[in-house]
Symmetry: C2
Subunit: 423 residues, 2 copies
């Protein structure tokens, strides 16, 4: 299987020409159409018959109405209330790596609040030489950085612990987004306040009613954490923490505190609700995995998938998906068509970058037989994404979070796909 089109020219070209000769550029057209007129006459794109919208029509644009199904979706039965709930990025319908803010998944513990820049304050306190309170305008005066990072909820793919559940990449893997953030390194603000030698952790909290407080080791806080105010170039959307959120690259989304209100330097972890009763996983022996901050290497085929079935006939098929690792850059993705028996290297659209989504493609000729599609990522540390069986062996059956198992889509001869488990 070659990755480039050129290597496949003969069959693909023959296929396309055959299709056209048979009556149209529509693939899978019946051979019975052979007697129809030249499609080049009937199938040419019509010209517009009138003028379109002027440049004053949409000062801020939205997707065209034909794409109204490419939206965030929540799952009603998943939580008791939409105020403390999640919705999912439509990753099955996206390509590339950037997630537009408008369809990037949300997770709130007490709803998305409205906070004006003018009213915004960020306190740095605790074990610092000088406690400080910054306004939004203050933050804009510190040197900024720009980085593309993924943000993944620790619960992403969590339903899969219990077996193949939700039918669609949006629902199994859509608690993730990937944006270009602009912000001030947290270390800059901590240095400004002067961290005292006893300080070993920071406790970060938001201004929403839940506060969503989390403890972060000082080493991470001084490394690549950003106090961010822009995503994909523009202000954070309300639901993403306007005007300021924390960006904790590679670490679970719950720590990316929105409406960031306070950073306290402490001697030890606070042991807050969000890091004790939540965001921990009970193992088979009854103890809990805790401080499971890093999101390990993971990948998923986004198309074909249950929400993105194959609608065309046999022949050329683009298999595509996303891979990511909280430990660094993705160095490779393998794809299996037969449930993990044989693997072939996918093509990375661009070289992987640290803690950001990487798009992969595998261009195949599909003969119409069923497939058990899987993808398997590896990162620059050499870590390889495990199977569901391997994960369960180590973690038991009681977990909710940090499921980075290999996902399987059963693609049927009719092109429809289903979430399944292979043993």
């Amino acid at each position: 299987m070659t990755a480039s089109f050129k290597g496949k020219t003969p069959s693909r070209r023959a296929f396309l020409k055959g299709s056209i000769a048979a009556g149209g550029a529509v693939f899978g057209a019946s051979a019975a159409k052979a007697a129809e007129p030249d499609p080049l006459i009937t199938e040419v794109q019509d010209w517009a018959t009138g003028l379109g919208d002027g440049v004053d029509a949409t000062p801020y644009g939205l997707p065209i109405k034909y794409e109204s199904d490419v939206i965030r979706r929540n799952v009603e039965w998943l939580t008791a209330d939409t105020i403390s709930s999640i919705n999912f990025t439509p990753i099955h319908a996206l390509d590339g790596t950037i997630t537009p803010q408008g369809c990037a998944f949300e997770r709130h513990h007490s709803g998305a609040i409205e906070l004006r820049k003018e009213d915004y304050r960020l306190m740095i306190n605790g074990l610092v030489d000088t406690p400080l309170v910054f306004t939004y305008e203050d933050l804009e005066r510190f040197p900024r950085e720009n980085h593309v990072y993924f943000c993944e909820c620790a619960a992403n793919t969590g339903m899969e612990w219990a077996g193949a559940q939700l039918n669609g990449a949006q629902f199994t893997h859509g608690m993730i987004h990937n944006m270009e953030y602009t912000g001030v390194p947290l270390r800059t603000l901590l240095n400004e306040a002067g961290v005292q030698t006893e300080g070993k952790w920071v406790y970060v909290e938001g201004a929403d009613a839940s506060s969503n407080g989390r403890s972060i080791p000082l080493e991470k806080a001084l490394d690549d954490v950003l106090v961010a105010f822009k995503a994909n170039g523009e202000a954070l959307r309300k639901e993403h923490g306007y005007p300021v959120r924390l960006v904790v690259p590679g670490w679970e989304g719950n720590m990316w505190v929105k409406w960031l209100r306070r950073v306290e330097v402490t001697t030890q972890a606070i042991q807050s609700r969000e890091e004790t009763s939540k965001y921990t996983d009970t193992l088979a022996n009854g103890t809990s995995r805790k401080w499971t901050w890093v999101m390990d290497a993971k990948s998923v085929v986004t198309s074909p998938s249950p929400q993105s079935p194959i609608k065309h006939g046999h022949g050329p098929l683009v298999i595509t998906g996303l891979a990511w690792s909280g430990r660094g850059a993705i160095t490779g993705v393998d794809v299996s068509l037969d449930g993990g028996i044989n693997w072939q290297p996918a093509r990375l659209a661009q070289p992987g970058t640290a803690k950001a989504l990487t798009r992969f493609y595998l261009d195949v000729e599909w003969n119409g037989e069923e497939m058990f599609l899987q993808s398997r990522a590896r990162d620059e540390t050499g870590y390889v994404q495990p199977s569901k069986a391997q994960l369960r062996e180590v973690r038991g059956e009681n977990s909710i979070y940090h499921n980075n198992c290999i996902q399987t889509w059963w693609v049927k001869p009719n092109g429809e796909a289903e979430n399944v488990e292979v043993s």
Copy 2:
């Protein structure tokens, strides 16, 4: 002047502490406030007093209402009608490099039309072995690529030929956007049809009433041109050519044909309206510059700028802007505070990538004196962005397009900025 914050810690930290000691984290606060209570008590961020919006509130989100001024804007007197006109990206208010589709500039010659994927057809004809017509679904079956590229209208900054005109980076430099495109290389489709040896050019046209036909040398068409269907991960917006537009990296935006309908392989250029009476520049000797496809290296300070004045007092100030080149990657940007007498290197947020926007920063201590802010980009070919005087010397005074001159903002002691020319 150092680029990193650490090198500036003493003065900045002293400044911040001084500010807080004087009565608040608000910079520029009067010293008369010194007797006020500890700001850490009065200025802490309030907790939300209730719940926010649930995750079902915004299936597809928009910017928060407080950002309602960060929108595309057109200039009423610039064109006779908004149907054949332009609006401008609010670059003065953005950071990073990605432009959200919703506020990315539009240019139409007969308005933005609505075209369904189901109805879409792309013809490849002319000097090819087999004329082909592709459906949208066909295009999805070819190997895809992902690239971030800028798209700049040839007329961007065009008003500056006549001197400092429009007051704001949005209006002087906002005919530009930068997105991650997903598409099929045009060469793949041309190879599919089989380009005949006499073929030396392609003529590309859109389905809108203007057709906006342009000729492109075959060499470029076979190089990095994309037949794109996604931007920043999602479908192209209507106003950006849904469902399919051409992406012609580094070349003037007029060639990035939207609602792409047909690609004809020809022996020579068509000499269409858009490449003869338009998108050419009359020189002093009466002849016209033509085939000025490439957008040369250029940059602009986006903040401070007329629409983004300095609102805080003296001390730390972030100067930021964008740089780009149609010939490759940006390798450096210099910034001048005194109208081009002295220059200092800006910090690039990330290493420049070919034919894409690069964000630069210069972190300075502003003493409140007036500045004549300029930026000067250079690219990997060694080309250096020229002054307005240098451009006029070569091109005369009759041009409209391809003005990549150094821009000057006069920043006054009160922080307001104005578009000016320096001799």
